[in-house]
């Protein structure tokens, strides 16, 4: 925080934070906490379970605190700071045990790592705990790649896929680089680019219901470019985008679908085909 301000005055003119330095990663821990995220919890629970399986496969004991709920992002991005803070505080208290936290969603991991410091900006005492959580939080693909340093044997049939990354997650967490590198380890998987790959799918949380026409136009373009990529399916590590893209595809009665990257990865490395 400190580099944001030139002097101590709260009204001092701000400069942009320094460019983040490349993250250094710890050695593989013995146990981690999985923060499932509310969207995965309710709509893609199998993906959450596959994330647990992938972690266990690396010899890590996974904890799933039953008291977890949502990171607070929906209220935060809607401008309801107090409500967001209450929910954030509940997660912060729950995760305040020094254990690494793995999140199968880039934007929720980004909430922990980037935005909790804004949520708690006026609580200096809390900020220390916020910083600790930020340091311990890893998006799933990032964790598998850089902390577990996975070395996989691809047991699946040759296939071609398209990768979609959540915009905020990509910008805050470099999830596109992690996911690409991870997919690159699978010998039978070819990743195909799609048109305007880095463009938003139109989800944006409450944006999709406040501006349904604009959001709808965006997801229509996104699903078209995904379908036209030639890929057999789309994979993504973000539940919100997945809900948006698959919901749109189903409404359009298209056969093409996306699925959570955790499920795709588990299928490739375990050889188990999820029904």
């Amino acid at each position: 925080m400190s580099e944001l301000f030139y002097d101590a005055a709260p009204n001092a003119t701000r400069v942009a934070p320094e460019r983040p330095k490349p993250r250094t990663y710890p050695a593989k821990p013995a146990e981690v906490t999985l923060f499932g995220t509310c969207v995965v919890d309710l709509f893609f629970p199998e993906a959450g379970l596959d994330a647990i399986r992938l972690l266990e496969r690396e010899g890590i004991r996974v904890h799933f605190p039953q008291a977890q709920s949502c990171c607070g992002q929906p209220a935060w991005t809607s401008g309801y700071v107090n409500e967001a803070r209450e929910v954030a505080r509940a997660q912060l208290n729950l995760l305040d045990n020094g254990m690494p936290v793995v999140v199968p969603s880039g934007s929720c991991a980004g909430m922990f790592r980037q935005h909790y410091q804004e949520v708690f900006a006026e609580e200096p005492d809390t900020l220390e705990r916020v910083e600790s959580l930020a340091e311990r939080t890893f998006e799933l693909t990032e964790f598998l790649l850089h902390v577990c340093k996975v070395d996989w044997q691809d047991l699946g049939q040759p296939t071609q896929i398209a990768l979609h990354t959540s915009c905020s997650a990509r910008r805050e967490m470099n999830t596109h680089l992690h996911a690409r590198e991870l997919l690159g380890k699978l010998s039978n998987v070819q990743r195909l680019d799609h048109d305007h790959e880095s463009e938003c799918c139109g989800f944006g949380g409450t944006f999709s219901v406040r501006m349904p026409e604009v959001s709808g136009a965006m997801v229509l373009d996104k699903t078209r470019s995904l379908r036209e990529s030639g890929a057999a399916e789309m994979v993504t590590a973000d539940g919100g985008c997945l809900l948006n893209i698959n919901g749109s595809l189903e409404k359009q009665q298209q056969a093409f679908r996306g699925r959570h990257l955790a499920s795709f990865l588990w299928e490739r490395v375990s050889g188990e085909v999820t029904p």
Partner: protein, 223 residues
């Protein structure tokens, strides 16, 4: 209370208790990426200017008036606005006399108000000097004065600019520092980096929007 004091008071209230940010200007960021070996400087300027439809010729300081004559005659132009009070103006006039050039020489010797119509519609071409060039961006630096007023490089459809090769600097920052611009600027300092253009319709480039359709730069080698 005046608008002035209201505005300033509001701004001061917003800054109450703060100190100004330090000046951490890093000149390396605007110079290091834009440095060229002496032999590349002209090439760089030339390449960039040609990329935006500027016609560039390298000529000797003795030959350039003949080149001007050739440029005008090949285009079939009737007149040329020039500045007899400058060194290059005198050189041009001497050449014109010797070669019996047909293109009529015109002089910007009255205030604009006295011949606006003629200046706006009847001048075919102009020739002006420059005080230098910038390799990094492919730019000419014009310092208009009473001999070569501001509109001389703007109104005629063809503008011919003389640039001494030795006056080309690497980058704008270097130019500014070398000539100590902050100590005193003219009424109107200009950087010109090509003929007038627009892409306002469908982003299709069209030249000669309001200023010259053609810019010809004569780079004078100090032979």
């Amino acid at each position: 209370m005046s608008a002035r004091s209201n505005i300033l008071n509001k701004l001061r209230a917003g800054l109450a208790g703060t100190t100004p940010r330090p000046d951490d200007f890093d000149e390396g960021l605007v110079t290091t990426p834009w440095q060229y070996a002496a032999e590349d400087r002209i090439t760089r300027l030339r390449t960039l200017m040609e990329a935006v439809h500027t016609e560039v010729h390298q000529v000797t300081s003795a030959q350039w008036p003949a080149k001007v004559q050739e440029l005008l005659e090949s285009r079939g132009l009737g007149n040329l606005l020039y500045a007899p009070g400058t060194g290059h103006g005198r050189q041009l006039a001497v050449h014109w006399q010797r070669s019996c050039a047909k293109v009529q020489l015109m002089v910007y010797d009255r205030p604009i108000e006295e011949w606006k119509d003629e200046l706006f519609w009847k001048v075919d071409a102009s020739i002006t000097g420059t005080v230098g060039g910038i390799a990094a961006t492919g730019s000419l630096v014009l310092w208009p004065d009473r001999h070569e007023p501001r509109l001389m490089s703007l109104l005629p459809p063809l503008h011919i600019a003389l640039l001494k090769a030795s006056k080309v600097e690497d980058n704008l920052y270097g130019m500014m520092q070398k000539h100590n611009w902050s100590a005193g600027l003219p009424t109107n300092l200009l950087l010109v980096s090509g003929p007038s253009k627009t892409a306002d319709i469908e982003q299709v480039l069209a030249y000669g929007a309001h200023g010259p359709k053609e810019l010809v730069v004569l780079i004078l080698e100090d032979a």
